[in-house]
């Protein structure tokens, strides 16, 4: 029975197919919202699915002078990392399928895998746009990773656990957005940086470096990277909601909360201008990291007093 449960969890629900479709749904909502903010119609509901099917069905061109194995495997790892991370988070407010003490750290690293793979994929090809994109993607990763980690540490400390389920249980009774507003902000903005959404889309700034690290990817590889990104969007939103917006609860309410968060994220995306890479790094280290650290210290001091 246990094996069957594992197979279902991995392939159908909440991992595997479900998370793929849910990720695409979130991507659609994101695109639709941005379109509406820009007074456009936006895509129809099946557009992300249609895009993925089309890309998957297309020929994948492997450039000469690249490591072909790496070229093919990297997108798979990226998607696998994103999918695996979904097993440890309370998707649509349900209990995570797997849970152990310290799963928060594992999840965070699984989520970073996508950026890492993107960077490697860019560095693997000889294309100049890819190289510049890879450099930028990795630079950006190093700038937001530390503040985000600090921001997510906050809930972990007050809940006194590294286990996602414990933290979200704690968050049910404590709306951490009120007690740790800076942490919430840093986490949301960090999520946007992770997903390379505007204004942090310098690594894939199309007017400068075409598609950044993924310029040489076409067909299947590109589809897998895109799917990975959609899944991460969903996982990231779930994580932030579970930690800061009242934890796991009624699935419908939980879903509504993630959607509200998505509206905010889409609004920020459509209203802000892209930052240059050095501006992004400056922003994170000068404000993001310091603020997160300040809040962290205040929290430790508070815990010490209490």
């Amino acid at each position: 029975m246990n094996t069957l449960r594992a197979v279902i969890a991995l392939l159908f629900f909440p991992g595997g197919l479900f998370i793929l479709f849910a990720g695409m749904a979130y991507e659609w909502v994101d695109r639709k919202l941005i379109a509406r903010f820009q007074n456009r119609i936006g895509p129809r509901w099946f557009q992300p699915l249609a895009d993925s099917i089309k890309l998957l069905a297309k020929e994948e061109v492997i450039p000469t002078d690249v490591n072909a194995i790496l070229f093919v495997v990297l997108p798979v790892i990226a998607l696998a990392g994103a999918l695996a991370s979904a097993l440890y988070v309370p998707i649509i407010g349900l209990e995570p399928s797997y849970s152990f003490s310290g799963d928060l750290i594992v999840t965070l690293y699984l989520l970073s895998l996508l950026t890492l793979c993107t960077g490697l994929a860019g560095a693997n090809t000889l294309d100049r746009f890819s190289l510049v994109g890879a450099t930028r993607a990795l630079t950006q990763m190093f700038s937001y990773e530390a503040p985000v980690l600090l921001a997510l540490l906050g809930p972990a400390i007050v809940a006194e656990s590294w286990k996602i389920s414990v933290i979200s249980e704690y968050a049910k009774s404590h709306w951490l957005i009120i007690t740790q507003p800076i942490g919430f902000l840093v986490a949301v903005i960090g999520l946007m940086g992770k997903l390379e959404m505007p204004p942090f889309d310098a690594p894939e700034a199309e007017t400068e470096i075409v598609a950044g690290a993924l310029t040489e990817y076409s067909g299947r590889g590109l589809a897998l990277f895109h799917l990975g990104k959609s899944v991460e969007l969903m996982v990231g939103l779930t994580l932030v909601t579970a930690f800061y917006l009242g934890g796991v609860a009624n699935p419908l309410l939980f879903f509504a909360k993630t959607l509200m968060l998505l509206v905010v994220v889409a609004g920020v995306q459509s209203l802000l201008t892209r930052l240059r890479i050095e501006q992004t790094v400056g922003l994170w280290w000068r404000y993001g990291a310091l603020l997160a650290l300040a809040q962290f210290l205040v929290m430790i001091a508070y815990e010490g007093v209490a």
Partner: protein, 392 residues
């Protein structure tokens, strides 16, 4: 101008690149994210227009020249018409001249709003891009209503204009302008107060007054550096002496100043169009134009949305021009871009390039198609055959 030797890493931008919707090849040598050298290769859309005028009549040449540029087509036709009319010693009636000014200013609005969107898009601010292009539709619809075409209006004929403005159209234009004026005020606010956007424009790509003079920049690019250079003021053509334009200049010389100059010029355009509508002279639309034009040469200059447009027309006494030389405003401004590029961030390159409002097809006017096995030069018949085969 040419690329510096000992380059480290060359980033090609174009001929196919999402930043430039027109084929042009730039090479930027970069050191990390810093640009250390820049060079350009034009000609990807060279259509042989200058040569083409040598075996076409003046009437046919006008339409060919109008297609030098898709955005500022009217100014090309106007420059050519004014030049040929001067050679033929006729003058278009006042009403025709006023309508030329009217369409030229509507075209300037269309061009500047297009540029505003492109500039915002290059900076990664797609919302401004979408809104400015949405509002640009207003002016395109007006142009369609007046001239019959959305672009390449073909308003001019030698000796006058084809289309008239009736009362209904005038009312529609006024209504459209009111809407645009309100929106333009808003956009001026956006480009001067949006913090994130200013981070990408303020102090970027600065061209000082002296540099601008030395490099011979023209149009809004020069005016953003404080150079008072505008042919509508300096050498009023068509009916600009009757409907004077106020010069708009800024002194900062950076990208923000270029945005501000262009948006402020929009207000001037609104004012001029209203002045034309208020005081549109009555009379004929055309005068009779002789088919043969007297021998001689003339220089015709008009202020295109991008700057000074220069036409040299030489006639040999037949109905065909001996030589037509076109110098579009992008060419002198291109020199300024390549000089400015050095020392800037790679991320700023598209912005600086777009800052001059480049129009590459304007630069390339001379017929070649890429893609045959042995030659890039195709004859017209081959080209036609290729097109037929391709779509069969």
């Amino acid at each position: 101008m040419q690329s510096q030797q000992g380059n480290k890493f060359t980033i090609p931008i174009g001929p196919q690149h999402p930043a430039l919707k027109e084929p042009e090849h730039f090479e930027f040598n970069v050191d990390g994210e810093l640009v250390t050298g820049a060079s350009v290769r034009l000609g990807y859309v060279h259509r042989g227009i200058e040569k083409g005028t040598e075996n076409r009549s003046f009437v046919q040449s006008m339409y060919l020249l109008e297609r030098v540029c898709g955005i500022c087509s009217h100014v090309h036709a106007t420059a050519f018409c004014l030049g040929v009319e001067r050679l033929a010693e006729i003058e278009a009636p006042p009403r025709a001249q006023a309508i030329r000014v009217l369409v030229a200013e509507l075209e300037r609005i269309h061009s500047h709003m297009l540029w505003l969107g492109v500039g915002a898009h290059e900076a990664g601010f797609d919302t401004l891009f979408m809104y400015s292009w949405r509002d640009r539709e207003t002016v395109l619809n007006l142009l369609e209503d007046i001239t019959g075409n959305r672009i390449n209006y073909s308003t001019n004929v030698l000796g006058g204009v084809k289309c008239d403005i009736d009362r209904e159209q005038a009312a529609a234009i006024r209504q459209g302008l009111d809407f645009l004026e309100e929106r333009t005020t808003h956009y001026l606010d956006v480009v001067t107060s949006d913090m994130m956007f200013l981070r990408r424009t303020r102090g970027v790509g600065v061209m000082t007054y002296d540099e601008s003079q030395r490099l011979g920049a023209v149009g809004p690019t020069a005016r953003a550096s404080g150079v008072a250079r505008d042919l509508r003021v300096d050498a009023a053509y068509a009916a600009y002496d009757k409907y004077p334009v106020n010069l708009v200049t800024e002194t900062a010389g950076d990208l923000e100043a270029r945005f501000v100059v262009r948006i402020k010029e929009l207000f001037e355009s609104f004012r001029v169009i209203r002045a034309v509508l208020d005081d549109l002279p009555e009379g004929d639309l055309t005068t009779r134009m002789p088919r043969r034009v007297k021998e001689g040469d003339t220089i015709s200059r008009v202020e295109a949305p991008r700057g000074e447009l220069f036409y040299y027309i030489k006639s040999n006494g037949t109905d065909t021009a001996e030589r037509v030389k076109v110098r579009t405003p992008t060419l002198p401004n291109m020199a300024s871009v390549l000089t400015l590029a050095v020392g800037h961030q790679l991320a700023d390159m598209p912005m600086i390039l777009v800052g001059i409002d480049p129009c590459f097809s304007c630069n390339d006017r001379m017929v070649s198609v890429k893609g045959t096995l042995d030659s890039q030069c195709w004859t017209w018949e081959q080209l036609r055959q290729y097109g037929i085969e391709y779509y069969r």
